[in-house]
Symmetry: C2
Subunit: 348 residues, 2 copies
């Protein structure tokens, strides 16, 4: 494989906004989506980065995502909760609006919860939980996703990997950002092993009969292993019950994958912001988080490894890439330039 | 081992209330604690059942739990959140009050969140999440616990098993009740294997160097395996940050085990109730949960097993035991009768 090309963040940003606006999106919306894509690139979550741009644009062009979505908050009876109807628009835009609203509600009521109905893939979940952490709040976000995990005792992938993220602010230290799916690994990792003809560890995938397999191809025909078996499978269902069902967007098992162009993806999300200030002085809390980080880092490591907190590695890469630039694989650059060609625009 | 004795629920209830009131507790408080103990017995969660009675009473007698606790809600700036200072009283009483308050708040504001400061072991977590489900709400509860899990990359048990429970109501079907700790199994299961001189599966425990072990004694000297490795370890820390730290009760690693009589256990909890009615008609939601249960149960089972939803097996046992009685192991009966002797009261 060729060496990746290093781009300055600003270059990628301009390119992404250019493509999205050429595809018919407003500058304001294009900026939000671009910000989430760059967030992924900076944090080395490549699967959710700029590589997604052609897919997102294809979805808009095909009309399976509504690029003229009129997102409206439903009128609720109670004031500390909200529901945004995303009108089948981009998940990133819905997520941004919904978490903003949850934060605004939390500032008044102490906690704010906003669900999003009829949305789409929203990118990296922790982008949204960290919006709350930046405001001295604890942010909690979940989303449903397309079928990948078999409910415990079955062999049919019905449940999504259904990511959950929680972000907690620190004072001097980096925020603690847990961002996890309910499977032991992402399907993408198994796909890479399949391409490389490599065996996978026995706790990654199950074959179509629900048995552990080290053959990546068998695992791709089967399902992903949930963390803690019955626990991960249960957590995944709970996410469905609190997103798809609670927003009446779709039933368990009905979310479509981002690459499935046969119709709306019927994704839904949940955003919670908790204002720390009500419980104790926010600065004091953040100092206590700092102390916790120090305490964990002062433990004896298992081997000669460093000890990292949740989200720390990503934050380190982010700081590094903001000054040194973002490496993008040649094959991704090629795909993006095909898009640029199509819009008769400047290539990367 | 001798066969267990079958008791009617009412007999166990009277015995428990008798013991707790003899130990100085008010009838009202004794009834709540008894209800949580019987809840555990009925659902076959023996480790949290009536076997705990002597320990709880010992804690009260030793003064490490404050049986005259004056539990007060802190005055909060915002209306949808609350914090109960449990004054080092019984966790069950604090949990009951806190979830009641969360439910009351949710009825007005759509969501209610109540933390509990300076509390103690509160029994089975799902007792409290189910309080919300009974009111057509989604109930979410977490609690911190004494050190058992090593933070990822370390070998020192610092994090608790830190249970999380979510209860979701159904209409005709049984409520879906996830109640899970962040370790693959409870330490109790490893202890039983040690007593029986039996090997344990490699994903239950780690030795003191942080390596997987099949020797239960090595595991007891080491730590419990978190679900999904870095994920379970991360989730456990998040629970700490949202309980111990957010209530300023204690820092990570400072909760004392229920059998540790050297001082207050410094446990804290978090209770959230979400009123479904704001998002959609609660009856319609519960019908959708019913449909989800049917959908999962209609899948092909992995083998010739039945398919159960989270909490279903416990609910089945509960219904059975409510009519047929509760089996209690002889050794537990003996322990309870020693207690009865000490209070010169009727034996079981």
């Amino acid at each position: 494989m060729d060496k990746p090309i290093i781009y300055e963040m600003e270059t990628l940003k301009e390119f992404s906004i250019d493509m999205l606006t050429k595809a018919g999106m407003s500058v304001q919306d294009a900026e939000i989506i671009t910000d989430t894509l760059l967030f992924a690139e900076l944090r080395n979550i490549k699967s959710h980065g700029i590589v997604r741009l052609p897919t997102y644009i294809q979805r808009m062009e095909n009309g399976v995502v509504n690029q003229n979505a009129e997102m409206k908050f439903k009128k609720m009876k109670a004031p500390a909760v909200g529901m945004l109807d995303a009108d089948n628009g981009m998940g990133q835009l819905a997520g941004y609006k919904a978490m903003q609203e949850a934060i605004n509600i939390a500032r008044i009521y102490g906690i704010g919860m906003v669900t999003v109905k009829d949305s789409n893939h929203f990118g990296v979940a922790s982008y949204f939980s960290m919006m709350a952490a930046e405001k001295d709040m604890i942010g909690l976000v979940m989303t449903n996703a397309s079928p990948a995990i078999a409910p415990f005792g079955t062999k049919t992938p019905l449940l999504g990997t259904n990511p959950l993220t929680v972000a907690v602010p620190a004072k001097v230290g980096k925020p603690i950002v847990l961002d996890m799916s309910m499977s032991t690994v992402a399907r993408g990792k198994i796909r890479i092993s399949a391409m490389q003809n490599k065996e996978i560890p026995a706790d990654w995938g199950l074959d179509k009969d629900g048995n552990p397999t080290t053959d990546p191809n068998e695992a791709l025909e089967g399902s992903l292993v949930p963390i803690g078996g019955v626990k991960g499978s249960g957590l995944s269902l709970i996410v469905d019950l609190m997103t798809g069902l609670l927003t009446k967007t779709c039933m368990t098992g009905e979310v479509k994958n981002i690459t499935d162009m046969s119709g709306p993806s019927k994704t839904s999300h949940l955003f919670i912001a908790i204002d720390i200030e009500n419980f104790m002085d926010a600065d004091e809390y953040k100092e206590d988080v700092d102390k916790t980080i120090e305490k964990v880092k002062s433990l004896t490591p298992k081997g000669d490894n460093d000890i990292y907190m949740a989200g720390e590695i990503e934050q380190n890469v982010m700081e590094d890439r903001m000054s040194k630039g973002v490496p993008v694989d040649m094959e991704v650059v090629d795909k993006l330039n095909i898009l640029a060609d199509r819009y008769e625009s400047s290539k990367l």
